[in-house]
Every structure is written in structure tokens, then in C-alpha cells.
Symmetry: C2
Subunit: 281 residues, 2 copies
């Protein structure tokens, strides 16, 4: 597996591919790859001639009290996963390569970033948009792949691409889950066995919500109460947010009279996990 | 002169050129072109196979009390100037094409935008960076040309390109002046004959400052006083700012012990004009 850490080198490689008329897919990641990432890489390999996986734990998207220092890293393991899934190279820059000492530019999105994860992580999406914008400029992919587990991120990236006229197709891919329903996440590695079992409550609560919507319940307060009660049955769980939002504006709705994103963030002890589903009208 | 107002159409044309291996220069403007713009277009035509001039009066870079509504426009005249100067096409989008109704993404630069024009026009450079970022994504030029009259803009665009890894070379071009020394600007059209004569004071005051620096004066307070006094001799002039700043950080310096930008903004009655020079150590 080729690993490139310099911007000029990755540009040269991509230019060589483009000159041959080859298409390029990008899978932006923070590494410590799991089956979710693997599904993105596989999809990218199906739809593009060449696939670049970026692995960069982006300091700009972590808050001051978040888990930047402890975020799991294992490049050797990631290389194997990338190779097996069909990637052609890994872009693995240092923090200094991405953020020189006088770095002072950010990409900001208003509105879509106020609610859901943006409420508890106020600088998070500025960090995400800025790094993804940089990666798009460096790799200039034809398509880029993002998981629907980070649904708000996916919607925000799509908006950034539309607003700034970035010439890339954003492909959202389904959530990949453990057998017990827990959504795959690099942060699952923080969980003890007991916590991992407790974490199943996120998916369970969402499933209950989805069932009720499909049965015709339309009042959002009622739905939120039931999801909340379900999560609170799990003693290790502490709710960060439960939101039912319009899938365009990501603002809360009162009645399900349009397509919505039902998103939750729950702490299992100290580990913050997210999950969601989209209900389309 | 070909005028294109749709993003897809400009992309198709640029792609066609790029497939033939032709280089593309972009000259971003707000139209009402003068000799300054002409010099940018000529330079672009010398250094590139094809030249795109964008003409777009960008609402995002105007403050609520500024001159968006009255900003001069004359596309027919601009077409002639573009043709004579060697442009290949004009990109002239509508506001709606550039800013759809849910538009919500901006590019923000901190530090460099606090001083000089950024102080009296706090949202201006966010508007400039956002529209220039969009134009770069739409036109994907090899080189883009900006006048040094808007020196802060030039430095900020260079920083944006560096920070966001945009693959374009930024070329700064010298200030073009009237015979009497007044820097060319589309806003000069606001001036009456009397005001136009009064406006010469900007260049006069800067020349005095430059002479003194060249003669060895290094104390910034002394220099600012003399520039201020010179401008105040002109009854129609009202100073917005006079700043002597480090050319990297654009922060004020106390002593000229490095390369500096000496920048001024002066109202001549209601018309705000800017001018500057760079002194390199």
C-alpha cells in the first residue's frame, strides 16, 4: 500500500492518473478504519478507476475538551484494510503539512451547523468543512464518499460543495452496524464489553422511533418522549441530544409532515456515540 | 466577445481548453473596467493561452450602508475593453446563479482581515474570499490576476490559496494611475471634476511618506503624522485610515525594520478611495 505524506506528491500522482483519463474517488477518514470505512472504500473502488483514502486526525474539528489526544491510531492496520478494500493509495499528511504556523482560513456554514452535533460541538463543523475543502483541493477527486452515520456532516459537506461550486460528487453510504445493531465507529474502541452492550440502546431507541413513525405517529414531542424514555432505561446512558429535523435545513420540526432526520447523541459513560435514521415522506 | 452566464457552460468551455493542454488565466472583476483591469487582462493574455474575465458585482462584499446599488455597470463597454485587451470570454453570472436562496457557506480569514480596510468594512473580505473561492472552483484557472491597488485583498487571497491548498498561482500587478497620480478605480467615476483634483492628495501624501522612508525615517508615528497632515491640507478629504503594517501579518508596526505596506483610505466628500505602496527592506 503506497502511503504519501506530501501534498506535491499526491498532486503529481493524481495528475498522472487524470492525464490517462482515469477517475478518482476520495474517502476522507481519521483512520482506525472499521467496516464502515471499508464499505466506503469498496464503493469508491466500484465507481472509480483509482481510490485515495486520506487518513488525518484533524485537530481543527476537535473541541478543547474532546478526545484529540486519545483518538485511536493504527496506520499499519489501516494499510491492510485499505489494500483489502481496493484503495490505490493512502494520503497521510502530518498536522504541519495541513496547518502551517500562520494558518488562518476557515470554511464556515451557518444554519445547518446550529443544531444536533453542532450544538454541543460548536467549532466541530468548521473544522470538518475546512479540512474536507483542503482535501478536495489537494486530491481533486471526481467523487468523495461519506458515511450516513455522520448524517449532519454529510448534509453539511453537500451544502458546502453546492455553495462553493466545488466540482465533486458527494456520495453518502449506508450505516454499517455490528450484529447487535451498534453503529460502527472508531470510538467504539473506547467501550468496555459492558459499555458495548449498553451502547446497543442507541439503535434500539431509534428503531422504536422508526416503528412508531411508520405506524403513523406524527407528533414530534410524543416521539421524542418515547425515544428518551427508551434510552433512559439504560443506566450507563446519558443523552446529549435527540432531535427530529427537516433534512434540508436541519432545523427542528414539530410534526412529521416532510422528510426528516432523526438523530441522537448519547454518552455511554464517557464515550459519546451518535446514530440516526432518515425518514422520507 | 463571448459572454457566458451559466456555470455549466463556463466549465464545459474551460474543460475543452484544458483537454487541448491550454493554460487558463482568470481576471476577477466587478466590471466597469478601467486601465487597471486592462493591464491585468493584458498580463493574463501574455502568460496564458486563454483568458477569462469574470464580471460580477458581488453583493456579499458590500456592507449594508455601502454603494452596492449605485456601483457603476456597463457591460457593453466592458466587452469592448476585454476584446481589445485580449480576453477570450467573459463570465457574467447573475446574483442568483452565484447565491442560491439557501446559500450559507463563507470563507473566513482571521488576523489579516482585522486591520486596514477590514477595520472599516468588517464583512468585506469574507465576501471577497467567498466569491473568489467560488470563481476558482468554477473556472479552475492556472493563474489569477489581482491589482496591487487592493493590496490587502491581494495578500488575503494569497493566504486563502495557501491555507486551503487551492491549485492556482496568484499574480499581483502594479497600480495603474491617471497622469496626475490618482490610482485608477471604478469608483473614480463617482468624482466630480473638483473632487477628482482633490483626490490627487492620496498619491501625494503616499509619495511624501515614501520619500521620507527612503531618506531614512524609520519611526512610524512620525511618518503617520506627516502623511496625515498632508492629507488634511485638502479640504474635501476625510481620512478613514492610515496604516503602516507588516506585509505578512498586516498588523501595525512601530518601526520600519522589515518590509511594510503603507495603506490609506480617504473619503473625498462621499467617495471612499484607497491607495498604498509597499516598501521592501
Amino acid at each position: 500500500m503506497v502511503v504519501i505524506d506530501k501534498i506535491d506528491a499526491i498532486r503529481a500522482q493524481v495528475n498522472e492518473w487524470k492525464k490517462k483519463g482515469l477517475s478518482v474517488g476520495l474517502v476522507p477518514t481519521m483512520g482506525y478504519l472499521h467496516h464502515g470505512h471499508k464499505s466506503l472504500i469498496k464503493r469508491a473502488a466500484e465507481e472509480n478507476d483509482k481510490v485515495v483514502v486520506s487518513i488525518f486526525v484533524n485537530p481543527l474539528q476537535f473541541g478543547p475538551k474532546e478526545d484529540l489526544a486519545t483518538y485511536p491510531r493504527d496506520l499499519e492496520r489501516d494499510k491492510e484494510i485499505c489494500a483489502l478494500a481496493g484503495a490505490d493509495l493512502i494520503f497521510h499528511p502530518s498536522t504541519y503539512v495541513m496547518y502551517h504556523k500562520d494558518f488562518s482560513t476557515v470554511v464556515n456554514i451557518s444554519g445547518l451547523t446550529d443544531n444536533l452535533c453542532g450544538k454541543s460541538r460548536p467549532t466541530h463543523f468548521t473544522g470538518v468543512c475546512t479540512v474536507v475543502n483542503k482535501l478536495f483541493n489537494i486530491v481533486t477527486p471526481d467523487r468523495a464518499y461519506f458515511g450516513q452515520k455522520d448524517a449532519q456532516q454529510l448534509f453539511i459537506i453537500k451544502r458546502m460543495v453546492k455553495d462553493l461550486n466545488i466540482n465533486v460528487e458527494i456520495v453518502g453510504c449506508p450505516i454499517i452496524r455490528e450484529e447487535n445493531g451498534l453503529a460502527k465507529s472508531s470510538r467504539n474502541t473506547y467501550l468496555s464489553e459492558k459499555e458495548r452492550q449498553a451502547a446497543v440502546i442507541l439503535n434500539k431507541a431509534l428503531k422504536k422511533g422508526k416503528d412508531l413513525i411508520e405506524k403513523g405517529i406524527r407528533n414530534v414531542d410524543d416521539l421524542l418522549s418515547i425515544i428518551k424514555e427508551t434510552i433512559e432505561c439504560e443506566p450507563l446512558a446519558k443523552i446529549d441530544y435527540i432531535n427530529i429535523v427537516d433534512i434540508e435545513s436541519l432545523q427542528n420540526v414539530e410534526v412529521i409532515d416532510r422528510s426528516v432526520l432523526v438523530g441522537i447523541a448519547v454518552y455511554i459513560n464517557k464515550t459519546r456515540l451518535i446514530d440516526n435514521f432518515v425518514y422520507e415522506v
